[in-house]
Symmetry: C2
Subunit: 299 residues, 2 copies
DNA sequence: TAAAAATACTCCATAGGTATTTTAT
DNA sequence: ATAAAATACCTATGGAGTATTTTTA
């Protein structure tokens, strides 16, 4: 019986699904399946009744769930208490991030972290990928969040979250009623794009290149320097753009924009947490990094 | 952080010694040392101050100790509760053992097990190694405890405890005042020995053979059929015998016998728990076996 | 047929072992 | 000198992954 097995077990019981729980604990579905089978073998009893797609805790499973909760809670408490006496949860973090994470993703993380750790101050700055990376290298920033891998010899990269982008249209655009459009329709659209060096532009370019399409085959009508400007462009009806879904949540919600899929294309990219490779992060920064990674699935 | 690490950690804190704790949890000293180092690295702080030979919990160690206790306790409770609803802690166990374990070793185990598991009945019988093994093979016994390995193709062996033997003398014997005698003195002594086929006799014979001594080089004056008879023989002054220390605890305590070491000889043997190899033990028997192994260090 | 879980297998990390060195009494 | 902990090194188990099959709604 390991704490990892118990964590998976608890998540499965909560979510009533092996695969969703696997996702939540950042393991593959077969791995959590294995963990539970191992637990069941060790305890000599089934923990879940597999009723086809439905999953129900057995009596033994319910009993284990209570104790498992106590165990993983105790572990968390021990860590927190130890960090407290070490003074790890006090101090300042200089955080830098590129546009999308800085404006749309990190805020809830920072809010919750500061609430849970009231003696920590976080200074958050936004910049382009290159300058954030350079500042982490120079020591001006403790930790960065960026969307592509550069200077890998000097920086440590940790997978953070996957940013899903889609083609966003003014809600009144005729194609905006469809859920999916063809490649031809896409190529014909008046298109707004970010400046060179932008992480989103690179992600779009890469995906197009996979299909053998070059960026200048698009009908590019504007090139704008930040996400907010692109949103204004779409709302003004100047054109369409591929943009992070997290940046247009409100616009979609209030019926100003819509997003559609493009057949054969899937725009997405990873954001990474970066740390200096040789200069070891002080404990508070490690702790904050752990917090980001632990909560990356949903928050 | 694993429960195994925490169990070792707790034992170390209790015993204030890495090597004693290693012994108690049945691991090597370097292994528990590794476990603690791993824990310390993971938590980012020392858990013990190593003040030379003295070992003291740090503040962080004290905090961890509290929570670690809760975790391992919860695990134990979960196991017990699950076993209860499975009905594992009810039923009968037919237990067979050879002389020494049956008469001197197993009793406290059985007593405590029955106290902790009041719905379990244990039927304990004593016989010679051969017949116990045969009965386990035939299914007349669920579990056996014997002192040598026979029928290894049909039986599963688990190391149980090490039985230490020594040369026992009547307290009034001149050599009984020494703590150790020479090999020559030993060979000259009138000697009482068990019958052929006895486990203790075999252990003695093996140890002598290692030094190139054959059994009939001893001055054997009696051959007796059980341990109790040999004890009576020693008390009557008929001769000396190599006998399990656990069989003469009271006699030594009350000054009737003494035991001395023989230079260059170390009489000891292992007792094994045996189960049938193919017929799988029912859960209660597995549980009892686990209990024996868990508590083998001291009880 | 489409999803979810189980199985088969492969590979690597790590836990534990032995042997040895270091350290402190 | 001795006893205890740390270190070095090796091996083997098992945990996690990918690919695939089975199952059932």
């Amino acid at each position: 019986m390991t704490l990892e097995q118990l964590r998976s077990f608890i998540k499965i019981a909560e979510m009533e699904s092996f695969s969703m729980a696997a996702n939540a604990v950042h393991l593959s579905q077969p791995s959590v399946s294995c963990q539970i089978i191992a637990l069941e073998k060790e305890l000599g009893t089934k923990l879940f009744d597999r009723l086809g797609k439905r999953i129900v805790l057995t009596k033994a499973g319910e009993i284990l769930l209570q104790h498992a909760g106590i165990m993983v809670e105790s572990e968390k408490k021990a860590r927190l208490a130890i960090n407290d006496i070490l003074g790890i949860r006090k101090g300042e973090i200089k955080l830098g991030s590129s546009n999308i994470p800085g404006a749309y993703i990190l805020l809830p993380f920072i809010q919750r972290f500061c609430k849970e750790n009231p003696c920590v101050k976080i200074f958050s700055s936004i910049g382009d990928t290159l300058s954030i990376a350079q500042e982490v290298i120079d020591g001006g920033l403790d930790l960065g969040v960026i969307g592509s891998k550069i200077n890998e010899d000097q920086l440590l990269y940790f997978d953070f979250i996957e940013d899903v982008m889609a083609l966003a249209l003014n809600a009144s655009h005729p194609l905006a009623q469809k859920t999916s459009i063809s490649l031809e329709e896409f190529l014909a659209l008046p298109f707004i794009i970010r400046e060179e060096g932008s992480g989103s532009r690179k992600a779009i370019e890469d995906e197009l290149n996979k299909k053998g399409i070059r960026l200048n085959e698009l009908n590019i009508v504007f090139q704008l320097g930040n996400t907010e400007a692109i949103k204004q462009g779409i709302k003004a009806g100047l054109g369409a753009a591929v943009i992070s879904l997290c940046a247009i949540l409100d616009e979609v919600k209030f019926g100003l924009m819509r997003h559609v899929a493009v057949e054969g294309l899937s725009f997405k990219r990873k954001f990474y947490i970066i740390l200096h490779k040789t200069r070891s992060a002080f404990p508070l920064v490690e702790y904050f990094k752990g917090f980001l990674l632990e909560n990356r699935q949903g928050l």
